[in-house]
């Protein structure tokens, strides 16, 4: 049972992803990732496409964007708005959890 234990890289603050990593993980094209950046959904460090560095959080956002776009037929502006509103809901629910409940 414990003969083949694998371990991987934890995607923490120290790890950044390239545009290739991100488009593969989303099963999308690099062009689609560029569109997300142009829409302000993702904010990479670096100047040109080839040098862009994305945070691990970008992976979560980009995959969410992909699902919303495919399943709900949203355009990118709609995806961007939905993501911002969902983030806002998460923040509010965190605050609610902190002050209330128990």
């Amino acid at each position: 049972m414990n003969d083949n234990i694998v371990s991987g890289d934890v995607l923490d603050e120290t790890i950044t992803l390239t545009i290739r990593d991100l488009s593969r993980a989303c099963a999308s094209s690099a062009e689609w990732i560029i569109e997300l950046v142009e829409e302000g959904v993702l904010e990479p460090a670096g100047n040109s496409h080839g040098q862009w560095c994305f945070s691990a959080l970008s992976l979560h956002r980009a995959r969410r964007a992909r699902r919303l776009q495919q399943d709900l037929r949203l355009n990118l502006a709609g995806v961007a708005l939905a993501l911002d509103l969902l983030d806002e809901i998460d923040r509010l629910q965190e605050r609610l959890g902190r002050i209330g409940e128990r």
Binding site: V6, G8, D9, D12, R24
Partner: protein
């Protein structure tokens, strides 16, 4: 196998128009999308609605489904009549989802055979990197403090000797390093889908999710604990036992502590660089006045302490 009433799932009448069905689907898809809904059943509902729409949006499949008759009720034991689909020709169009786990047995028994989803891959000279896979792994908060090993079941598409894609299950034992946070991902290089031709194998991304804990709340690397204390412990100060994910500690309550106050235990949150903190949120627990002695103590306090808890309210 249970009969599925697709009209009931979509909340439409059996004679609904294609437009009504489309509108009902779009509304339900927004409502139950797993990225949008907080409902724990959202994913199951979303898939169910998607399956219903897959059938009802397509006039051919809908007609074949309607032929089963309106006498079936959702949940009834169901076996398709022999040759039930004779006279219907299903074209493969529109069935783009390659996730073979997405539809129910009921759907598969009706429409599964008519569609060839197994694409013949591996044309000579064609190479492509395998897809990245994604999975969730549930751990306990204590695992984040100590690290753990988890077994994960993965479904791997593979090609048989005839070039058909079949799904095989495989177990992977993964080391969860200490210090992981809720929502964090672990990338396992080369554990995704196999490549095509000489293409590289894809990666596997694991998303960490904590099981809810009955004592602690987690925010990033910080951990919160509600700790009940007696009125005299809060008023006079005391050293009390407090649980932490690493074991019980002696905690000093300063004199004059009020309810809701946070005591920070620096560095006792989830380990990392820097580690998180453990916040102890003080709760006041009142001793019950369930004996004459206890009632007398409360009466003495009422007499001897000039205490008005509502002074701030101006009454």
């Amino acid at each position: 196998m249970d009969f599925r009433d697709y009209y009931q799932i979509m909340g439409v009448e059996r004679d609904a128009t294609q437009d009504q069905i489309k509108r009902a689907y779009r509304k339900l898809a927004r409502k139950y999308h797993p990225d949008v809904s907080k409902d724990p059943d959202a994913e199951a509902r979303f898939k169910e609605v998607g399956e219903a729409y897959e059938v009802l949006k397509d006039p051919e499949k809908r007609a074949a489904y309607d032929q089963l008759g309106a006498n079936w009720k959702a949940g009834q034991d169901f076996h398709p009549p022999p040759d039930w689909d004779a006279g219907f020709e299903f074209r493969g169009g529109g069935f783009t989802d390659s996730d073979s786990g997405a539809y129910s047995d009921f759907f598969e028994s009706l429409f599964g055979g008519g569609f060839s989803r197994a694409q013949t891959r591996g044309r000579r000279g064609f190479h492509a990197r395998g897809e990245d896979h994604h999975a969730k792994v549930l751990i306990d908060l204590e695992d984040a403090y100590q690290g753990a090993t988890r077994s994960i079941m993965l479904r791997v598409p593979e090609m048989d000797s005839q070039g058909h894609v079949i799904t095989r299950e495989r177990t992977l034992n993964v080391k969860i390093p200490k210090g992981v946070k809720q929502g964090q991902r672990i990338r396992l290089a080369g554990q995704g889908a196999p490549g095509i031709g000489e293409g590289q194998t894809g990666d596997l991304y694991l998303e960490i999710e904590f099981n809810p804990h009955n004592l602690y709340r987690v925010e990033g690397r910080d951990v919160y604990l509600d700790l009940p204390v007696a009125p005299w412990e809060a008023a006079l100060g005391a050293t009390v036992k407090a649980p932490t994910p690493e074991g019980a500690v002696d905690l000093k309550i300063p004199p004059g502590t009020t309810a809701g106050r946070n005591l920070r235990l620096k560095g006792r949150g989830i380990p990392g660089k820097p580690p998180g903190d453990l916040y102890v949120v003080i709760q006041l627990a009142l001793p019950p006045a369930d004996s004459e002695e206890a009632r007398q103590l409360y009466r003495d306090m009422a007499q001897k302490l000039a205490f008005n808890p509502r002074r701030q309210l101006g009454v």
